[in-house]
């Protein structure tokens, strides 16, 4: 049995609430907000939720109930919320990644700003067993961590207008997979030929928070062959 968690609920906007909790509760259970999102959707009607790793936003309908009433209902629910006990996921997903200069758009900058060689950057990123921390941003974007201190970098000051699909980036303690092409502010370290979002499949989102994951370095030739398949 886990301890009850102390949540705070604050206004984000007139129709949005933001739930947070203390960091020690998060350290105990990094999937709190992912789990809470399911509980909220099952318990409250007319809401939309977005879980992040350290917060969760709730979109409310202020025509059916006032904002103040929503706030009170949320606080009530959170006061009695019992988080699940997280079980270690057995599934280990291997993600092929090509670190070739053609794909690793920021490899030079990463190497320079961290003062380590490209080979050291690659070995610090690859072969380590990570956990999927969150999904979100765009369909199939996967937040993975923790990165070692050797690779922690802030986000780009000016986000790129376009990051190609399959790009793998770094931001702070996270490495993430851009399954869709689009704008992005993470430093790009390589690219995967694997597509983690296929709307034609029955379950288009294969990866869920809590799963274990590791990267495997592949050559450009292997990348091309895997893309072709």
């Amino acid at each position: 049995m886990l301890n009850r968690i102390e949540f705070s609920v604050n206004n984000f906007a007139e129709d949005l609430m933001l739930i947070k909790c203390k960091s020690d509760a998060l350290n105990q259970n990094p999937l709190i907000f992912w789990q809470l999102s399911k509980t909220l959707l099952a318990s409250l009607s007319d809401i939309e939720v977005i879980p992040g790793e350290d917060s969760l936003a709730v979109k409310i309908n202020i025509l059916k109930k006032t904002r103040v009433q929503h706030l009170a209902d949320l606080k009530n629910l959170l006061g009695t919320y019992q988080p699940e006990v997280t079980e270690e996921s057995n599934k280990l997903t291997t993600v092929p990644i090509c670190y070739d200069d053609e794909f690793a758009l920021d490899m030079n900058d990463i190497s320079l700003s961290k003062g380590i060689s490209k080979a050291e950057v690659i070995s610090a990123h690859c072969g380590i067993e990570y956990q999927v921390k969150m999904i979100g941003f765009t369909p199939g974007f996967i937040y993975i961590g923790d990165l070692s201190d050797e690779l922690t970098l802030p986000r780009l000051k000016t986000p790129r207008v376009f990051v190609p699909s399959g790009s793998i980036g770094l931001a702070n303690k996270r490495t993430g997979i851009y399954s869709l092409g689009g704008p992005g502010g993470w430093s790009i370290i390589g690219r995967t030929p694997t597509n983690f979002f296929d709307p034609k499949k029955e379950d288009p989102l294969l990866i869920q928070p809590g799963m274990r994951l590791r990267f495997e370095s592949i050559t450009k030739e292997e990348f091309r062959n895997m893309l072709g398949n």
């Binding site: 007139e14 129709d15 933001l18 936003a57 802030p154 000016t158």
Partner: protein
């Protein structure tokens, strides 16, 4: 039945409804019409469900050939509409016969107009919505904008055309005063920036699309220290990256973002995001959350159909 043929596509014409509601927890953006007010209004005028599919035409519209008799309504940006080369008014039900062509020109003011038809377009639904989300190739016509030569089929439906009255419709200009409330990281702005932000005149950048609108102008002073874990964002969230130039998120907004969320556009003004065009000017007007709430309730009183948005 085949109902419509695309003679020319326009700059970016997509099928939209009011969005893919209930999937943000999986990272799927809401999408839907960028100006939900105008999209819903077009359906309301035809006596249809406000969530029925519409065509969203961007900056410069398409030319369409009707293959069946239809009633048509155009709302939103005042792009000139011609049916068989005759100019027809916006916000009015037009009876068009099979064989008619509908031409939608460009506009100088406002960014998007909406075309609704009395019958329902038969298009791809994904997770309960036909909204086209181009980056994910979801919804609409194969998840993409319309192309010359496309044909769209229609399902005939019974509409319940009643003359509905409503408040004065919004006017579009080339400068915007957008009401915003403080976002979760507002406090990261320097006190100088907090005091002066309402005086800054931004220009909408060319690097703007349905996902986000980039603003050009004086840079904001923001405290970047401290790691920020990606947190929830919505349509109308204004992020401020390290370069100090705000980004206003649109209908295809990502669900999580790691740049400070300095403001949130008040719900009453969120539709306007869909009408901002590159080169337009924009200023922020700070209001309190209680005022934003009241403004929305008042707006719904003027336009009761908004209660379903």
């Amino acid at each position: 039945m085949k109902g419509l043929e695309v003679i020319s596509s326009g700059l970016m014409t997509t099928v939209q409804d009011l969005g893919r509601i209930g999937w943000t927890q999986m990272g799927v953006p809401v999408s839907g019409a960028a100006d939900q007010f105008s999209a819903a209004l077009a359906n309301v005028l035809l006596g249809k469900d406000i969530n029925s599919p519409v065509l969203e035409c961007t900056l410069s519209g398409p030319k369409l050939k009707l293959l069946i008799d239809q009633q048509v309504v155009v709302t939103g940006a005042r792009m000139q509409v011609k049916i068989n080369n005759k100019v027809v008014p916006h916000n009015t039900v037009i009876n068009a016969d099979a064989g008619s062509t509908i031409g939608i020109q460009s506009s100088n003011c406002g960014c998007r107009c909406y075309v609704a038809f009395s019958n329902d377009m038969e298009v791809t639904k994904f997770l309960g919505s036909v909204s086209t989300y181009v980056p994910g190739k979801l919804g609409g016509i194969n998840g993409r904008a319309l192309k010359k030569g496309d044909t769209i089929s229609f399902n005939s439906i019974d509409t319940n055309l009643i003359k509905s009255s409503h408040g004065a419709l919004p006017q579009y200009y080339n400068s915007w005063l957008i009401k915003v409330t403080e976002g979760p990281e507002f406090k990261r702005l320097s006190s100088h920036t907090k005091d002066n932000i309402e005086n800054i005149e931004y220009v909408i950048s060319n690097d703007s699309n349905r996902m986000g609108i980039r603003l050009e102008g004086p840079t904001l002073e923001i405290n970047e220290s401290g790691e920020m874990i990606s947190g929830p964002v919505f349509t109308g969230t204004i992020q401020c990256p390290g370069n100090g130039l705000p980004i206003l998120l649109g209908p295809d907004a990502q669900t999580l973002g790691g740049y400070p969320r300095i403001f949130q556009v008040a719900k009453v003004d969120r539709f306007l995001i869909g009408q901002m065009r590159p080169g337009d000017q924009l200023k922020f007007k700070r209001i309190k959350i209680e005022e934003a709430e009241k403004l929305w309730l008042d707006r719904v009183l003027s336009f009761p159909f908004l209660s379903k948005i």
